[in-house]
């Protein structure tokens, strides 16, 4: 994420949130202490929370928080001594966290899967018109959009592909 929040080793937009690419792909390279799943919907549903929490190996801690609480806890410095992977579902969540006061210089847009109405940008990134305009807003705010699914994928910047 850069800036003053260096403990965020990866800030990723992925509509699957916690899954194999995150745990194995990124996790084996970044060796995070914690995964923060920032999503209002999941955070308010005990069943979904348990499902995601059970999917993470025991050596990695998990926090499943609504977006405002995510920003507040990060700003309060609770995770400062850890290496953290921060996950959100949607590009608009990145804007929301920025508006909640988190500075963001780079975000990995690594998993937006095909669904009706979404157009292909990369094999692992499909976006609809709303998502495109939100990503354009992120570009306008100076955020680098990295399109890698996993660390070893070919590096692709999405910035010029969404404007």
């Amino acid at each position: 994420m850069g800036g003053e929040y260096r403990m965020i080793a990866l800030f990723r937009v992925d509509d699957r949130l916690i899954h194999g690419q995150v745990i194995l792909g990124w996790g084996s390279v970044l060796k995070p202490d914690r995964i923060i799943l920032a999503d209002d919907e999941v955070a308010s549903n005990e069943w979904e929370k348990n499902l995601y929490a059970a999917s993470v190996p025991p050596e990695i801690k998990v926090s499943i928080l609504p977006l405002p609480e995510t920003a507040a806890q990060i700003k309060r410095g609770i995770f400062d001594t850890e290496r953290v992977i921060l996950l959100v579902r949607h590009p608009k969540d990145v804007v929301a966290l920025m508006d909640l006061g988190l500075p963001v210089s780079e975000v990995n847009v690594g998993g937006l899967h095909y669904r009706e109405g979404r157009a292909k940008v990369l094999d692992n990134v499909y976006i609809d018109a709303e998502e495109r305009s939100i990503m354009r807003e992120l570009v306008k705010r100076g955020v680098i959009l990295d399109g890698r699914a996993v660390p070893g994928s070919r590096a692709v910047r999405l910035n010029s592909r969404v404007v």
């Binding site: 509509d15 194999g20 499902l51 995601y52 059970a54 999917s55 190996p57 899967h113 095909y114 669904r115």
Partner: protein, 135 residues
């Protein structure tokens, strides 16, 4: 209906990343012949809703019959979506870590033992099949 009969009509639904599900089913059928009610969902290119809908479609069509959902990786998206798809369903089990011996055990034991016993047997076969070969 006897327990044995129940397990005979148990469906298998293989849900995996990539094209693994299609190939696992195809390969199992090369060995033990064409299987009834053994479905492959290669899910990683589909969105979550699509994977869940396909699993639910099979379950709903079959009414209250038993089924086993085989997923490739515990904690992966195929696993998570399978858990979502069978929430509140009775008589449906999810087994993670599917491999060829697991599917072969399923194909050959269906109808020979009660459902719960078959589930245990299949898991045991899968575990036994991973070993160092030391001759």
């Amino acid at each position: 209906m006897s327990d044995e009969k129940q397990s005979e009509r148990t469906a298998g639904i293989v849900v995996t990343h990539g094209k693994l599900a299609d190939e696992l089913v195809r390969t199992a059928e090369l060995i033990v012949g064409k299987q009834e009610e053994l479905y492959a969902i290669s899910g990683s290119d589909l969105c979550d809703e699509n994977v869940i809908d396909r699993i639910r479609g099979i379950i709903v069509r079959r009414g209250d019959m038993h089924a086993i959902v085989f997923v490739d990786y515990f904690g992966g998206s195929c696993c998570i979506n399978s858990v979502r798809a069978v929430e509140h369903e009775e008589g449906i089990k999810i087994i993670s870590g599917v491999n060829l011996p697991v599917l072969l055990a399923f194909a050959t034991k269906r109808g020979t033992m009660p459902f719960e016993e078959m589930v245990d047997h299949i898991i045991r076969r899968g575990r036994e099949s991973v070993k160092m070969i030391d001759l």
